[in-house]
Symmetry: C2
Subunit: 228 residues, 2 copies
């Protein structure tokens, strides 16, 4: 399963907010063996949201959109997603019912639009807030507030699964450039993928579909390198 | 000036690394009156990097690419950028000279490829590391290690400028949904853009090109709302 994340919000583009939602979802997906192949941050504009979601939908198995839900003029995600899949937004009876049963709001008191979802969408309840999410044609629309996003994702997490990937990390106290031949040999000897990330030490990540192979590869590499 | 950021790295997609580089660059650009209109994170794959950079170049005034510089097999950014602008990568004499003068490395000791840049690029020295960056046709290629990226950006920061944007933030202790009419009135009365961000309080950001207008708008709004 290969997916894309679309994060909506001017505040992320301007650097006011760090995109921790994408990192959190990336971790969740990786644990489930799902590959996040693309993360895109777009402004609060219907056309940009629609274009990104539409393109991602054509290319990936699912798209997770976060942010831009709610009642204010800059909450445009539902409109953008609806445009991407070619339907209008309209009041969703499940959203109305859920808000009336599970929140302190009466439907009549809610700002118009709060219960509007793309026509034909499945409503995703918001266990930690008011504005509901939605799923339509493999596009999952979640809130931008991290606590709400995480709580809503937990309810649909089972819909994301793939081949589990096993990983071992070997930290090395040598210059990255000195490791090239050994990394090349590692990749030749074992059926694994290897990433190396320089910092205070060089962090070498070894991943693969077979746990024994990954373990053997990590042991082989560890024996040939200098530990910090 | 409207720009796009392209962040390269599997480790960002998988959530191992939070994309703080994009947030830092977003802040820097916003301060300079430059609009970041798009942030894309792509895997360590030449084709993905090339496609994103190529598309962004067609649409924006400049593109800043971070990550994937260096000597290992997963450092593919220079190749991707070169493909995006239709040139080969080749050894760059300025990069060779700079490495020999400013680092502890002799050129002969460097891993082949470290001084290879897209043909015709301007070399951007790395004041905090070894691998040089590059600029070609408005595509700026910077390292992924934050300290190196920031030091390299400082040297080209003057090349990014736009209309300054003034901003005031008003925190409000009312539900976001209760503010809608007042936000609508604010947007009608003053030539400003308004963003509202719910959290413990609702943070309302008021921005515009004229500082006096933004100040007046913020005062008007502050008087009409409940402070925390």
């Amino acid at each position: 399963m290969r997916i894309a994340l679309v994060s909506v919000g001017d505040e992320i583009l301007s650097g006011d907010t760090v995109n921790t939602n994408a990192a959190w979802l990336g971790e969740q997906m990786t644990e489930r063996g799902v590959a996040v192949e693309r993360v895109v941050v777009v402004p609060d504009r219907v056309a940009d949201i629609a274009r990104e979601v539409n393109e991602a939908l054509a290319e990936y198995d699912a798209v997770v959109v976060t942010g831009g839900l709610g009642p204010t003029h800059d909450d445009l995600t539902m409109e953008g997603v609806a445009a991407a899949v070619g339907v209008p937004v309209e009041e969703h009876p499940d959203a109305v019912a859920w808000v009336e049963e599970h929140t302190d709001y009466e439907h009549a008191d809610l700002v118009p639009g709060t219960t509007h979802l793309p026509k034909g969408a499945r409503m995703l309840p918001n266990p930690a807030g008011v504005a509901p999410g939605a799923e339509i044609e493999g596009v999952y629309v979640l809130p931008g507030v991290p606590g709400e996003m995480e709580a809503m994702f937990e309810r649909v997490a089972d819909e994301f699964s793939g081949e589990p990937l096993f990983r071992r990390v070997v930290d090395v106290d040598e210059p990255e450039s000195a490791l090239l031949d050994r990394i090349a040999e590692l990749r030749e000897e074992f059926d694994v993928s290897v990433g190396s990330y320089p910092g205070d030490v060089v962090r070498v990540k070894i991943e693969g579909a077979d746990e024994t192979t990954v373990e053997e590869a990590a042991n082989w590499f560890r024996e040939k390198t200098v530990a910090p």
